[in-house]
């Protein structure tokens, strides 16, 4: 007997959607939003469509992009890391202190920057998996602790004067392309391969999807979580490095509310807030959307207070749309 519910041939849009998710792990809607937003901005501001402005957008996106990649890994595993903005600030200060106050060579300062982030992330992961404290609480606590520690280390002052080689990471322009953009692309490619094509990445999604199924499949869920939070912290350290070297200083107040923008970018890019789904390419699109939004509002001379409101609004809207779609899908 033929099944009663023969589905109609899927529309072109539906097929494109399926292809883009399967092949590129990107939600088609996010690309449409990005192009639409850029088009609107191009009409509103004569300065928007220029190579130098695009470089500005990419440059501004690089720090948020790396943070958003961190958020993607943690969120798609069903976790949450609210501390990445503060850890960015802490690691930038640690790096600057090691380079300037201790006078260490650049490679050590760079390692210290990323290492400080990873250490904070490791503490997060350790308390979450061994102490059974919810990630929300642990990372919210770390948000305060890391920020406070950054202020303690720097004595509340900005640490200026990074060594030249370190500055190259934030201000160098090989072949005319800003170093932070190159670093973002490198990080994105590596992390995309890890999330989409390695067992580590597949297990990350599986844990976020059904922790029990992952556990019964022999995946060491607790250890995996620990590595994820360490990775998240480490990436926040990389973002801190980019930020500090771009502004040539370790600023203890760097990265305040960046977790908001980063998580928003990840969710706009198609990461499921509750885990099980996430893509780095999608997240980069999401980060670009945030970058274009902020850049456009800057060009239109909209006060930064309103920008904060816009970002918060976009986050809630993105989750609303995602939930709405999921309810539609599960409706039979």
């Amino acid at each position: 007997m033929a099944p009663q519910h023969m589905s109609r041939a899927p529309s072109l849009w539906a097929r494109l959607q399926a292809k883009s998710i399967e092949q590129l792990h990107i939600r088609l809607e996010s690309i449409v939003v990005l192009i639409g937003l850029a088009t609107i901005m191009a009409f509103l501001s004569p300065f928007f469509l220029s190579v130098s402005n695009f470089m500005n957008i990419l440059l501004a996106t690089s720090t948020i992009g790396v943070l958003a990649i961190a958020a993607t890994f943690v969120l798609s595993s069903g976790g949450l890391d609210l501390s990445i903005g503060s850890v960015l600030g802490l690691s930038g200060v640690v790096g600057a202190a090691v380079a300037v106050n201790l006078g260490m060579p650049t490679p050590i300062a760079v390692l210290a920057t990323i290492g400080a982030g990873a250490a904070a992330g490791f503490v997060n992961g350790w308390v979450i998996t061994r102490g059974f404290v919810p990630a929300f609480i642990v990372t919210l606590g770390m948000l305060g602790i890391a920020r406070g520690l950054a202020l303690v280390i720097s004595d509340g002052r900005v640490i200026y004067g990074l060594p030249e080689w370190m500055l190259f990471l934030g201000q160098g322009r090989p072949f005319g392309i800003p170093m932070p953009v190159i670093i973002l692309v490198l990080v994105a490619v590596i992390m995309h391969v890890i999330l989409a094509y390695t067992r580590y990445g597949r297990h990350t999604l599986a844990i976020g999807d059904n922790e029990n199924a992952a556990r019964t499949s022999g995946i060491n869920v607790d250890f995996h979580r620990l590595t994820l939070y360490t990775l998240s912290g480490g990436l926040a350290g990389v973002a801190g490095l980019l930020f500090a070297t771009r502004i040539n200083s370790g600023d203890p107040t760097a990265g305040i509310t960046y977790e908001l923008t980063a998580i928003t970018a990840a969710i706009i890019g198609g990461t499921n807030l509750f885990g099980g789904r996430g893509s780095i390419l999608g997240t980069i699109i999401g980060a670009l959307i945030m970058g274009v939004l902020q850049n456009g509002l800057n060009l239109l001379a909209v006060q930064s207070y309103y920008q904060q409101m816009a970002i918060g609004g976009v986050l809630v809207l993105a989750v609303f749309i995602d939930q709405f779609q999921q309810r539609q899908e599960t409706k039979v």
């Binding site: 094509y197 067992r199 597949r202 199924a213």
Partner: protein, 256 residues
């Protein structure tokens, strides 16, 4: 000669005694129904067989080898596989990811070990075909499938462990009528491959139609061991509830 032999299993949780000396045997290619009211001890017995719980007393052997000292992982390696009622599927991942979860095949690309998606997909499709299960596009997330289709994914997943015994917990409980038949067909398919199946179910019609033997648990004892083809619905219902006037209940069950 039975493949899996369970004898004299006793188990209590604190002061509550759940199993009082249960016997159960399953041969290769035999489908054994395990029925009983809620609280009769079915789930506890299964968890003891898979090694999730430790038995207080008794013996479990698989092809003559003692199982009681082995961990759940070791028992799985010996061929005891359990499909839980919730199926333990990652609903947003595709069929291949679920079937090979935790054991993804890899290949080396530029010195990196990457998941071999193509091989995974091919092997998953082969496994589904071998089962004779009907699935839409296997690249779709498992959560978009019907209950019966999800059940086939869970069974295909179990089969990749090369099991000798598959324990299924209420595989037809949440299914549409049409899908029940296809899941029962899958169970017959397992049987034809020489796999022993323990089917836990409340749906006595399903149990009657697919099993060779029916073991009835009541209050922690295996009170009946019935050959399915010589058994009628009233016999089973009577064994489950423990005698009395069961005509009405049996008639109700017979209607399905």
């Amino acid at each position: 000669m039975s493949l899996l032999s369970v004898s004299g299993i006793e188990k209590s949780f604190g002061a509550v005694s759940v199993l009082h000396g249960v016997h159960l045997a399953v041969s290769a290619g035999e489908v054994v129904g395990l029925v009983g009211d809620n609280g009769a001890g079915k789930s506890t017995l299964m968890k003891i067989i898979t090694g999730m719980y430790q038995a207080d007393r008794g013996a479990i052997t698989m092809e003559g080898e003692d199982m009681l000292g082995l961990s759940p992982g070791q028992r799985r390696a010996r061929g005891i596989e359990m499909i839980y009622q919730d199926l333990s599927l990652a609903k947003q991942q595709d069929v291949a990811s679920n079937i090979f979860l935790g054991r993804e095949p890899t290949r080396r690309v530029f010195g990196m070990r990457l998941v071999d998606r193509r091989k995974m997909k091919r092997d998953a499709q082969a496994m589904i075909d071998q089962l004779g299960a009907k699935l839409p596009e296997i690249t779709r997330p498992v959560g978009s499938f019907s209950g019966g289709q999800q059940q086939s994914v869970a069974i295909a997943r179990a089969l990749t462990f090369d099991p000798k015994i598959v324990i299924m917990d209420e595989p037809t409980a949440a299914l549409a009528v049409r899908e029940v038949q296809s899941v029962l067909d899958l169970i017959r398919q397992l049987k034809s491959q020489g796999i022993g199946v323990i089917l836990i179910s409340h749906r006595l019609n399903d149990v009657m139609s697919v099993t060779d033997r029916i073991v009835v648990l009541r209050q922690g004892r295996a009170v009946a061991n019935l050959i399915t083809k010589d058994t009628t619905m009233p016999d089973i219902v009577s064994a489950i509830v423990g005698g009395g006037d069961v005509a009405a209940a049996a008639a109700h069950e017979a209607q399905g």
